[in-house]
Symmetry: C2
Subunit: 374 residues, 2 copies
């Protein structure tokens, strides 16, 4: 069939940047946190090469913030994530898995500490505001939980720092990886973090004023003119090569944080009071049965991957491919999947049941070779 169109209504929220990206000619959208997220401008391959060589401005407003503020904010933050926050200082960001009491993944946000008693969770695609709000209510915590009007704008690509410096000043170069600083734009302080959903480097700017956001968008595009800057978006090829999982596609509520390969972010040994940490400790001690893995799939470019594709080894089902795309740089199909332990070591031979037939595949290290140029 032809690709169906999307019906645009208020429920699929527009952003302060929507009119700009539509005038630039966004081709396709997805919906993420009840909000529009572009997925393609010129085309996935063209956008990919451009992202790797230049710089793009991304409307990632759909990375909604869940704010925790008040006397019990720090306690709630630690309850919400299995990451150890005991030395998590103001000005830092942390990839902080949120799981239920069985250890199953509810979200994989980036957590930022804005003040001793104030946090933002920059969430992937689930309503963490409901989970956090109900916990606070049920446990009688003294903390306010809400989604502030904040629309992140990302500047990504190898030339992102030059563009950010032209707009925010040279001090932006001093922001370290997964740190943020308040920087002025037109007299208004905005949080600028060295984070982003690519391996090409760059920043995310937390825009808390819609009108100013438009001006910032234009200023970034103008500052990047000399670098052939373009509007962009998280890129399917780049993110798979970088091993960046998508919550909802590669991992879901059916998977634990350990199965999602997030063990290094889980405080399995530290004495923290976090929902689900005990379940993860039990799973770690009994052993995993499956885990996310990277795959190189042989043959011509694979078709679009809408649903998980079965994966077999020696005729036995051993998992599924959840995201797959042709990498024009590697001349092969790169993929992520959930694979039975025993078949996850790099080099393992597998067979993928793609919609157009069986293909041989081999487990690969992630990130895939050359994903990051840094």
């Amino acid at each position: 069939m032809n690709a169906p169109m999307i019906t645009l209504t208020r429920r699929l929220r527009s952003t302060p940047f929507t009119s700009r990206i539509e005038s630039f000619g966004v081709k396709t959208y997805t919906v993420y946190n009840h909000m529009l997220l572009p997925t393609q401008f010129i085309g996935v391959e063209d956008d990919y090469w451009h992202l790797r060589r230049s710089v793009q401005v991304w409307d990632v407003s759909c990375e909604r913030q869940v704010e925790l503020v008040g006397p019990d904010a720090a306690r709630l933050a630690q309850l919400l994530t299995v990451r150890n926050l005991s030395s998590f200082a103001v000005g830092r960001c942390a990839y902080a898995p949120v799981v239920d009491h069985d250890g199953h993944l509810i979200n994989d946000p980036v957590l930022s500490r804005l003040a001793d008693d104030r946090f933002w969770l920059s969430v992937s695609d689930s309503d963490v505001v409901l989970w956090a709000g109900a916990l606070a209510h049920g446990l009688g915590l003294d903390v306010k939980v809400f989604e502030p009007d904040v629309w992140p704008l990302a500047v990504q690509g190898p030339l992102a720092e030059d563009v950010a410096a032209a707009v925010f000043g040279e001090t932006v170069r001093e922001i370290r990886f997964f740190r943020f600083a308040p920087l002025a734009f037109e007299g208004h302080e905005l949080l600028v973090a060295r984070t982003g959903w690519s391996a090409q480097g760059g920043f995310e700017i937390y825009v808390d004023d819609a009108e100013l956001g438009g001006a910032l968008y234009d200023a970034l595009m103008k500052a990047g003119e000399q670098h052939d800057i373009r509007p962009g978006c998280p890129n399917l090829i780049e993110r798979i090569e970088a091993g960046l999982m998508t919550y909802g596609s590669d991992v879901t509520r059916d998977d634990t944080a350990l199965e999602a390969g997030l063990g290094r972010y889980c405080a399995l040994d530290a004495p923290i009071d976090a929902i689900g940490i005990e379940a993860l400790r039990r799973q770690a001690s009994t052993g995993l049965t499956r885990q996310v893995a990277g795959l190189l799939i042989e043959g011509d470019p694979v078709p679009a991957n809408r649903n998980p594709w079965p994966v077999t080894a020696g005729g036995e089902m051993v998992g599924s491919v959840t995201s797959a795309v042709w990498s024009p740089r590697l001349g092969a199909n790169v993929a992520l999947g959930m694979i039975a332990i025993g078949h996850t070591p790099p080099g393992s031979n597998l067979v993928v049941q793609a919609p157009d037939g069986e293909r041989r595949a081999v487990v690969s290290e992630v990130p895939f070779p050359g994903a990051s140029q840094r």
Copy 2:
């Protein structure tokens, strides 16, 4: 701009019926509860007239079920909704607003009681499973909360009963409005409820087996051949005429259940233990400042309504239009909006700032005249 296309990935979940509706030629999708929901087959107007005269099968799998089961299920159900459940018997369905402790709307599900200790919330577009799960955890309740694999299929339209009777037997005619019964299809019991998101009458069938669901879809289509049955979906014109609000479009977390016009479903006087009921009682006693209202907007067909349109009266802002569409039957534009009290009585004159200019409007009773033919 041209309407953008939608990128289809696992995160925007397909349903057991997706391959069928795509082979029938679905034109547009929206995303609802992280799942694909068709919005148009032949066209909104053509689909509308067909729905009013015949019968359609709707893939409303996106009406996800949140199951509560266990000794504390009834207590949690009452905590979750401000509707009085004290006489809510097994076999009944109830439109049951879920609000936060400030009375703001989190969801407006249909609640069904499957057993004394087992409930389903058929939710609109927010992750109620997280809200309910965290409450249960925080309050230490003995209840399991999860989203079962259930994909509702609706049969809607004036001839729906004949089609349902051909598939499930004559007993389906005895199911009363907002009641359900377990009925057999190919030896498997399915819950069949006389509910649905139209004013044309019909049923929703809770399919809990994907393969059986495909067979049921085909059986319904075959049984309806003589009636010119077609695949369909909730219809923009029909649902506005019927005054059916969409959570996320017409009302959001910014609005209370009373502002959403749901006062008759709120137990303002009964002694129930429900989150948010006290806040609603306070608001009821101090008085509302705004409420959802129906509007007839003059002039030619309005453009697509992507964002709220400002509404004024005597030059003053008094609200916004949140959904609007041309009704070919009424020869006028029908709309829903959030309007300041004082301007909500039917007959009130307003001015709508549509994207193509100012238009006069008048507040109308909802449902609009002739919405239902029953």
